[in-house]
Structure formats: structure tokens, C-alpha cells
Amino acid sequence: MTNILIFIIVISVIATLVQIVRVSELLSEIKNKDVNEVTDKDNNTQGLLFLIVGFGFLIFVVWQMITWDHLLLPPASSVHGTQIDLLMKVSMGLIIVVFFITSPMLFYFAFKYRGKKSNNAYFLSHNNKLEVVWTVIPTIILTVLIIFGLKTWDNAMNVEVTESTKLIEVYAKQYNWTARYSGLDNKLGKANYKLVKGKNTLGVDMLDINSADDKMAREVHLVVNEPVLLKFRSQDVIHSAFLPHFRVQMNCVPGITTQFGFTPNKTTAQMKESEGEDFEYVLLCNKICGASHFNMQMKFIVETQEEYDIWIASQDNLEKKLLTQK
């Protein structure tokens, strides 16, 4: 019934429109002028509209920046993330400045040079000096940005891995994450997808000497100010491990091990103080992976060494979990 009603309404709206347009065109025919000819009055109205709507848009942009500022991610909770935030501030500042110069120019020119039948445009086909200026200036600015960007990238990606860097594997499958800690030897035992069976959900090779002390968990605990190297694997399709608060993201690709090293520098407790009681660090999936892609998550907890020691001690190692417990 509603469908029929909607259909009828749509048809009558179209019919009304046809009539209105028809009437206006007939009227102008009577007045002997072309309804679709752009008049000076049109130019005035449209030019003014560019000024009003154009600047309205700019105000809308400013309004969004003010109103939604509190919704944006808090400052980075990692060492390399702080540098990324700085680069972001600089780049964002720059594009905002350019945006607020060029957009108003566009809208203002549209208004200012709105046409008049009696006016003539100024014939100007090129001006080499000007063109050199606006090629060179962006080039210089971009050179600076590129150098700054590459340094930040290098700093984020090429982390030094030392003895003290904690190794943790993050394993993705439709639609959950599992973590594996490297244990006392800080070495992850080998794994192979063909060994995935029963409780050995990660396919860890228990014959490897490094496997026995590894630990599996459904959440990741990190020690504040201690470097960590996350190793990513996937069981089925491409997933992407996204930790927005740490400025960390890396795809998890079946058949390949990827990695991302970083140093968290704020504990969950500290973040709860500044961001509210509900705050949690969270790992999201950021590469389309199937129906429950939107709900594929794992909690990250950053804590002090003491808290971490207590938690990790409470977890069974793989030897106990896979080989002795039946």
C-alpha cells in the first residue's frame, strides 16, 4: 500500500514540475525573451550565492573543527606516534592555510567578476613570471614536507630490535585476534598453518625448542616505556591490525609475516584519567574481511612492569596448555 502511495506521489510531483516549467517557458515566450538566456540578474544572483554559500561552507568547516574536536583521537600513546602527530599538525596546518586562501579566492572571484552584458573580460592568455612563481612555491613547500615525512616514516618503520624488545605475535582470523607471547627466552616458536589442530589454534610447532614457553592470550598486555615488536600472521584472508591510539597499523597477510615495532608510553590507567573511565586501548580490523569485519577486536592493556609480571605469571605456557592438559 505504501509503495502505491509513494508511486502516486512521485508521479504527481513530476506532473506538477512539468506544468510549472511549461508555464514559465510559455510565459517567457509571450514576453518574447528566451527563458534560458543568462541575464545580468542571473549573474548577480548566482555570483552572490557563491559568496554566501561558499563562505557558508567555509564557516561550516570551521564549525566542524570546533564542535567535533573532542571526538578526535587523543594524542599518541607511543614514542614514534608523537612524531607522527607533529608531522600531522604541520601538514594539517599547512593544508588548512592553503584551503582558506584558495577557496575564498575562488568564491570571491566568482562573485567579483560576475558578468554584465556591457562589460568586457580582460584578455590574458598567460604570464610566465606568475606561472613560475606558483610552480616554485609549492615545490619548495612540498620538498620540506617530503623530507619531514620521510624522516618520520623511517623513524616509525625501521625500529631497532634489541635483546630487550619484547616479541609478541598477533594472529588474525575471521573474526578474532589471538596473541602469542614469546615467553622467557623472548623467542617465538615456529608455526605452520598445517599444524593448526584442536587447541593449537595458531599452528605452533611444539617440536621447536622455542615454543614450549610461549603463551597464548586473547588480550595483549604491554609494559609502559618498553619497546615491543608485534609480528602479524593471518589464517585466512587479509586483515589489518589497527591500533589507532598508538598510531600503529599493519596488514596481516596469509603466507607472510609482517611486523610493527613501537614503544607505548602511556598506561591504560593514565589514559582513563585523561579520557574517561571507559577508555580502553583496542585493536581493530581495518581491512574488509567478511560479515563480522566490523566487530573484530582485541583489548590492549598498557601497564607497569609489576602489573605485567603478575598477569603474565598467571598465564599457562604452551607446553602446559597443549601438551599436558588433556
Binding site: 512539468v18 561558499g54 609549492p138 616514516w153 589464517q235 567478511g290
Partner: protein, 583 residues
Amino acid sequence: MSEHHKENFITKYIFSMDHKMIAKQFLLTGMFMAVVGMLMSAIFRVQLANPGETSILYNLLPSTWLNDAGGLNPDKYLALVTMHGTILVFWVLTAGLSGTFANFLIPLQIGARDMASGFLNMLSYWFFFIATVVLLSSLFVESGPASGGWTIYPPLSALPQAIPGSGTGMTLWLISITLFVVGSLLGGLNYIVTILNLRTIGMTMQRLPLTVWALLITAILGVLSFPVLLSCGLLLVFDRSFGTSFYLSDIIINGEVLHNEGGSPILFEHLFWFLGHPEVYIILLPALGIVSEVISVNSRKPIFGYKAMVGALLLIAFLSFIVWGHHMFMTGMNPFLGSVFTFTTLLIAIPSAVKVFNYLATLWRGNIRFTPAMLFAIGTVSAFITGGLTGIILGDSALDINVHDTYFVVGHFHIVMGLSAIYGMFAGVYHWFPKMYGRMMNKNLGYIHFWGTFICAYGVFFPMHFLGLAGLPRRYYSNSAFPMFDGLSDINSLITFFALAGAIVQAIFLFNFFYSIFKGTKASQNPWKSNTLEWTTPVERIHGNWPGELPVVKRWAYDYSKPGAEEDFILQTEPLKDGEIEH
């Protein structure tokens, strides 16, 4: 024209070899697909604003797409997103835009009777048409259409066990895109040959209108990159159907251990984006070409820095082939490679900036006539500025870490590629409608259409940047699974409101378009007082374009308001006066 044959209904309207008719066929098919793609976005926007709730819009969907409660189900949400992307990128903004304007404008603006090969041109449309039918038919298969995203990354797209859409739906998608590529290659080769060989006397490359330059470069990009997509898709077909392992390795899916070893999904991404990035410019460049023409005509001024504009087009096209890796910063590829791609990507900002400044300089001290086409042309420049700038964030690998695949990306490419290109397309339709149909589109409806679209589009896409900066990933069926996104629901509702309003505004355009075809006021031969050759053809469209001899070109296309001339435009066929320098 000597070989001019008698036309009946079928050869005139269906299997036509006249470039003008083929252009209209592309346009109408493109418009139809645009409506389909837009309705899809309306449906998933409703889901994002009111997760899980039912909506009257869902009546448009096959019933298998809904969950038990009558809401959209997650698999089908992804299917909608995938089909929306595929349709808009390939069907509307590639075929709809290039297909329409390359076919329509190239022969008319270079002074040719038709395309180099009318038959290949006809084939090009019919391959496209069959591709359309195949793609649409995939909406009705039981397991649903392809739903692994328009980028169809394997293994998701290779394994029906991973997502239902990767079954029959994906097979149809691959068949459809293969036909599509064949069609676009036939078209592209034709455009290149036509522009290089069939220019009329006097139409040197330096006198080509910028639209033709843009279409030429676009066609070259397409011819060089689409075959790579085809091979990329072919290998995927092998993996899906013949047990090869180009893209697959070490996979357990639904408890089943697959035998595939040694392949790499990253290989697929490299091949895909080798097309995928030039594709962005295949979409954008024709729009920029159209806008150059429309802005110059309606500012009554020559386009500022013609040579720089051509140079910028060439540079953008060249760079577009060496930046594809910026889609892949987070795949785990060597960070050094990431550095290289950051460098090349950010370089694109330079020719882009030159283009923007040249547009501004063209408007400066002009005598602007606001036709609906001109409004959309200015809209394109605005969108190109707004969306282009955020590219500086995304192209920087270090910053990409945290905005990659978030709504920031969605906002960015919808503005810079989606809006710029669709505004360019609207500008082209309003501007050349009189040439296409011999009638005028209604001006006032055009005004309403522009302002409605302009306001709604920014209302939809600008807030998305904030969602992205809040960390919200794209392609999420619902944002309710993470408490950190609870605060974003107001923004989502706002976006959905503008999206629906914007969709309704497009009805005004559709109405104006079809009304004007039949009832619009009759157009004069050169309604916009343009210089280019297409306006020297008679209003009645004839096969062969010019009734007598082909026009001979004596000057460039942009002599508007030239001092010493009687009127503020001089047709390209007008000889230079004694002592007059060309420009």
C-alpha cells in the same frame, strides 16, 4: 559523406556507428548506473545512521538481502558497498564520463566526420552494455553479488567460503569487468587514433581544445593500464577455478586446509593498483578538460596558461604510473619502497596546484556568465581544492599509518575524484546538451540542481574526515561494536541526512534532462558563443557532422574578448587578421 548510408530505426538508435549517438548511449547507460549506484549508497547510509533498523528503502532490495528482523544483513551491506564502488568508478565515471564526452567531442572538436573506426566504436559500446547486464544480473543471484570491496583483494575474493559474495557473484563480476575492459580498450584505441590522424587542416596539436588534450591523455592512460587489470583478473580466475596459487598461500578457511602455497596477495595488490591509480586520473582528467573549456567560455577569457595546462596534464599522467604503492603503505612492503612512493605521490601536488592557480587566473577579471555548466565547473575547482589538499596527508606514508582505510580516505577520494568528476560530468552535460539534443536544458532547474548538490555533497563528505581522524575504519556494517565510536553517531546521522537530501536533488536533474530532450526550448547554433568547431555544425545532427566541406582551423580555441575583435569570441575557423598574433 560519400559512404553515407540510409538509416533505419535499428541502425540509427541501436546499432549506431555515429559517434554522437554512441555518446548518448554511453551517457544514458552511465546515468542509469549512476542512479543505481546512488540508491545503493542511500540504502547503506540509512543502515549506518540507524544500525539494524528497517527502512522503507529496503523495499528496493531482493528479500534475501534482509535479516530476520527486516534489517540489512552484514554480507549484503558489504555487497552494496562493493557494487556502489564498482559502478561509480567503472560504469559512471569511466565509461559514463569518457565514453560520453570522448565519443561526442573528439570528432566534433577536431573537425572529423566520425571516429577512425565507427564499427569498433559501436562494438565498444555493446561490450560495455553486455558488461552492464552481467554486472546487474549478479544482484539477483542467490549468494549475492561480489562483496569483497571494489578492489576485490584475494583471498577474500578468491574463496567463496570466506564470504558468500565470492561465489557466483564474484564470477559474474570478473566476467563483467573483462567485457568492460575490452570495451574500454576498443574505445580508447579509437580515441587515440582519431585524435592523432583525423584532425582537420590547421588543427595542430597546439590548437587542440584542452578537452581533447585531456581525453587523449586519458585514453593513453586507459590503454596502458586496463590490460594490467585484465591480467590481474585472469590470474584470479585461475586461482578461483583451476587450483593455481598466484595469490594464495597458507590458508585455512572454515576449518578446511587449502593446498595452495607460495602465492602472494600482495602481488595482486601491485597489479591491481597499477591500474587502480591511473584509473583515478582516467576519471579525473576528462572532467578537468571539460572544466577548462567551460570556465574559459563562460569567463569570456582565454584559459590561462594553455601550455602549462597541457604540461600539467602530461606530468600528472606520467606520475600516475609511478605512485600506485601509496595504496599499499600498510601491506608490509619494504619501508624503503614506501619512501619512494611517498616522494612520487607528493610530487603530484605540484602540477595540481598549477592547474588550480590557472583556473583562478582564468576567472580573474573575467566577465563570468553563470550558466548551470559554469556553476558546476566552479564546483569542480572547489572540490579539486578541498579534496586534493587532503591527499597531501594520505600520500605521506608516515601519516597514512593512522588514516589508512579510515573514513578520512572515504572523504578524500569522494571529494577529489567523485565530486570533481561528477561535477565535471554535469558541467559537460549542461554545456553540450544543446549540441546533443538541439534543445536547451532549463536554466533555473539547473541552478537549483547545482546549489542543492553543492551543499549536500559537502555535507556528506566533509564530516567524513572527522570520522577518520577519530579512527573509524571504512566498510564497517555498524559502528556500535566499539564504545570509542559512540560519540560519532550524530555525525553519521548528519551525513545520512545530507546523503538522502542530495539523492533527492538529483531527481531535479533527471527531470530536467528528460523533459528538455522532448520539450526544451530550441537551441540556436552557438548558444554559448563558443569558439570551438562543434558549434559550427548545424543544429540538426547529421551523420558526418558538417554538411559540406570540413572546416579549416586558423587559430587556437581560446580567443575570447580579444582586443580589436568585434565580438567577444572568434570562431576557430576565422582567419587571423593582418598583423594579428595568434595568442
